[in-house]
């Protein structure tokens, strides 16, 4: 046989190989996509189950059916500034007692200690994580960015209530805020 020509079985072999390669390549691309699909899937999964302590990121509407005065929940507030943001950030009160269904309003104090204008973003997290889905924020500074001029200070408000069907074993909630400098991200 001449070089360059293929016998029938060789050609069949090549076709069969191409078929398998195509399927496998498709799997490769699908799995590459799946890696990225995990990002929204993770968010949806956590949203449904409340597994990672993430709270609602848009304002909730008050929907509790009365106030359960037989239970008192301790809600603690902690704050933290991320590396590189020269802000002071503190809760005005560290702890508050609420009945499930009862609306509360608390303030957080923040001050830009630098001379630059900085845009901050607070990211909330609730512990224990499973309780995050029962912690409803009606109004929160974390829904918006916080642009502060150099040296400026402000009190930021949070209005919330705890759902009536909070699991009975939970008596204390900790709400933690981490404040990040997002000036660069907003500009670009």
């Amino acid at each position: 046989m001449d070089k360059g020509t293929e016998t029938a079985p060789q050609k069949n072999q090549k076709n069969a190989n191409t078929k398998v390669v195509k399927k496998l390549l498709l799997t490769v691309f699908a799995m590459f996509g799946f890696g990225f699909a995990l990002v929204p899937l993770y968010d949806i999964f956590c949203d449904i189950t409340g597994l990672n302590g993430k709270t609602n990121d848009v304002a909730a509407v008050y929907a509790a059916d009365g106030i359960d005065t037989s239970r008192t929940i301790k809600v603690q507030f902690i704050t933290r500034t991320a590396k590189g943001i020269p802000w002071e950030f503190e809760p005005v009160i560290n702890e508050i007692s609420v009945h499930p269904g009862e609306m509360k309003f608390v303030n957080f104090y923040v001050k830009n200690n630098s001379q630059r204008d900085i845009i901050g973003q607070a990211v909330p997290s609730v512990s224990p994580g499973i309780a995050a889905g029962y912690f409803q924020k009606i109004e929160c500074f974390c829904f918006e960015q916080q642009p502060l001029k150099g040296g400026e200070d402000v009190e930021m408000g949070l209005q919330f209530y705890v759902d009536l069907d909070l699991p009975p074993e939970i008596t204390t909630l900790t709400l933690s805020y981490t404040l990040y400098d997002i000036t660069g991200k907003v500009d670009s």
């Binding site: 190989n17 699908a30 799946f34 990225f36 956590c46």
Partner: protein
């Protein structure tokens, strides 16, 4: 063997795919599409990488020889542990197995070569570039990656020392190479089996590589995805893992370990295949429970996809998640136990002899089982909180990767060296290699269990005084183990240069088509498919 010679001469005149073996010198290796040449390249590459990664480990053990900071700065220590891990996983163990696959799968299934020889060449030759980038980063201003081989965000993003880009590109190339290698293995096994070689007649060796290749195809793209996210988070302002922008650093760990856990089976399933070939040969019995071995391998592969979060028990998962991942993980002990008992049952009442491949295989069965047991201990959520990120974990994965995967690679290398080189290896030197390795590896890794239980954290260049004695012994074991591997280099070089002439089948209990061709295996084998009954 006369038929082989005839086939050989037919090739010369007819086959336009295989003209490359007339080339000499470096071009033969650069342009080769021959599965045996490429197998050899992979094996040498992996051994060089093994010695490189080993050299880094020697510096780590020198630093840990006594408490306090001796010879390296903490940041450089982090670079050492990171690059040691990356080289050993992606540069030593995985290419070694690909080397075995290239050399042996075509011969075992009666195929003339791999199905995609040109891609085979490419998948090998991009590897040196990946490791040149990775190792080259040591000499860059930023230094090498220092965030651990697991590159957890934000260590690899926000707090990166600037090496993230080199790391990501190196991993991308390694991933592409692995995927191409895996595709080649699957296509070869599906399409090039000799007539009559049904799936359930394939040697278990081929089965384990078949399943491993599927694992690679499924999870290497996920690794490529997660390193891409790390890259864009670090340099292009995305926020996949950055809480400030709405991302989640814990999600990094989920995606990484979704790749990472199947990855550890990618590094052990081929070892099962090698050991399942060698133990029957030197027990002079059929492999006990072949079918159950196939199904056990497939179950382990399946389970590997649903256990990833057992690496993350301490990230604050809810109880239900911890329980699920704990039970799913413990379930893996069932198919793995099936395998271990099958190996023992194969040896049971066999006419056993203890040539060096068998010594390494028996050591594999015992020591891998120890590694499996410490894995079970780690799978228990309540106690994992104590073991997490301690030397207990280090002991565990070195038992499964060194005395598991690496010992199986040595077993396989000694077993097939006569077929590869045409010479028998020097038996007494090989026995020295085995016994020195066996003793030193246990001195090296066994005390780490106790260090971990006592609370010594991993990846830290200094430690509390009470750990000093054990660390001294561990370091001595480490140096001895490192030096022992040079004996292997000597054995291989001696074996290539000369030695007793090996017959076509040097082991009387060996089975498989690779033993029906001459030793050393001719450049082209099975150009005409063999008859399988």
């Amino acid at each position: 063997m006369t038929t082989e010679t005839v086939n050989e001469s037919l090739d010369e005149s007819h086959d336009d795919e295989h003209h490359d073996h007339k080339m000499t010198g470096i071009k033969r290796w650069l342009y080769t599409t021959n599965h045996k040449d490429i197998g050899t390249l992979y094996l040498w590459f992996s051994f060089i990488m093994f010695l490189t990664g080993g050299a880094l480990a020697m510096v780590i053990r020198m630093e840990l020889f006594q408490p306090g900071l001796q010879i390296v700065e903490p940041d450089f220590f982090n670079q050492l542990t990171t690059v040691h891990g990356l080289i050993m996983v992606f540069g030593a163990i995985m290419p070694a197995f690909t080397g075995f696959a290239n050399w042996l799968i075509p011969m075992m299934i009666g195929a003339p070569d791999m199905a995609l020889p040109r891609m085979n060449n490419w998948s090998f030759w991009i590897l040196p570039f990946a490791f040149a980038i990775l190792i080259g980063s040591f000499f860059m201003e930023s230094g090498a990656p220092n965030f651990g081989w697991t590159f957890y965000a934000p260590l690899s993003t926000t707090y990166s020392n600037g090496s993230t880009a080199f790391f990501v590109f190196a991993v991308h190339i390694m991933g592409i190479s692995s995927i191409m290698g895996a595709i080649n293995i699957v296509v070869t096994i599906m399409n090039l089996r000799a007539p009559g070689m049904t799936y359930m007649k394939m040697p278990l060796f081929v089965w384990t590589f078949f399943i491993t290749a599927y694992l690679l195809i499924a999870v290497m793209p996920v690794l490529a995805g997660v390193v891409t996210m790390v890259l864009t988070d670090t340099y292009f302002g995305t926020s996949f893992f950055d809480a400030a922008g709405g991302g989640d650093p814990v999600m990094f760990q989920h995606i990484f370990w979704f790749f990472g856990h199947p990855e550890v089976y990618i590094m052990i399933l081929p070892a099962f295949g090698i050991v399942s070939t060698i133990i029957p040969a030197f027990s002079r019995k059929q492999l006990f429970g072949y079918t159950s071995m196939v199904y056990a391998t497939a179950s382990i592969a399946f389970l590997s996809f649903i256990v990833w979060a057992h690496h993350m028990f301490t990230t604050g998962m809810p109880l239900a998640g911890e329980l699920f991942f704990m039970y799913a993980t413990m379930l893996i002990a069932v198919p793995t136990g099936v395998k271990v008992f099958n190996w023992v049952a194969t040896m049971w009442r066999g006419s056993m002899t203890f040539e060096v491949p068998m010594l390494f295989s028996i050591a594999f069965v015992i020591l891998f089982t120890i590694g499996g047991f410490s894995g079970l201990m780690l799978a228990l959520t309540p106690v994992d909180f104590q073991y997490h990120d301690t030397y207990f974990v280090v002991a565990h994965f070195h038992y499964v990767l060194v005395t598991g995967s690496l010992f199986s690679i040595y077993a396989g290398a000694y077993y097939w060296l006569p077929k590869w080189t045409g010479h028998m290896y020097n038996d007494s030197l090989a026995k020295w290699h085995f016994w020195c390795s066996l003793i030193s590896v246990n001195l090296l890794f066994f005390p780490m269990h106790f260090l971990g239980l006592a609370g010594m954290p991993r990846r830290i260049p200094d430690y509390a005084l009470q750990f000093a004695d054990f660390n001294k012994w561990v370091s001595i074991g480490g140096f001895a183990f490192g030096l022992s591997q040079l004996i292997f280099l000597a054995v291989v070089i001696k074996c290539i240069k000369g030695g007793d002439k090996a017959p076509a089948k040097p082991w009387d209990g060996a089975e498989g088509l690779e033993w029906t061709v001459a030793s050393p295996a001719p450049y082209h084998t099975f150009s005409t498919p063999p008859k399988i009954d």
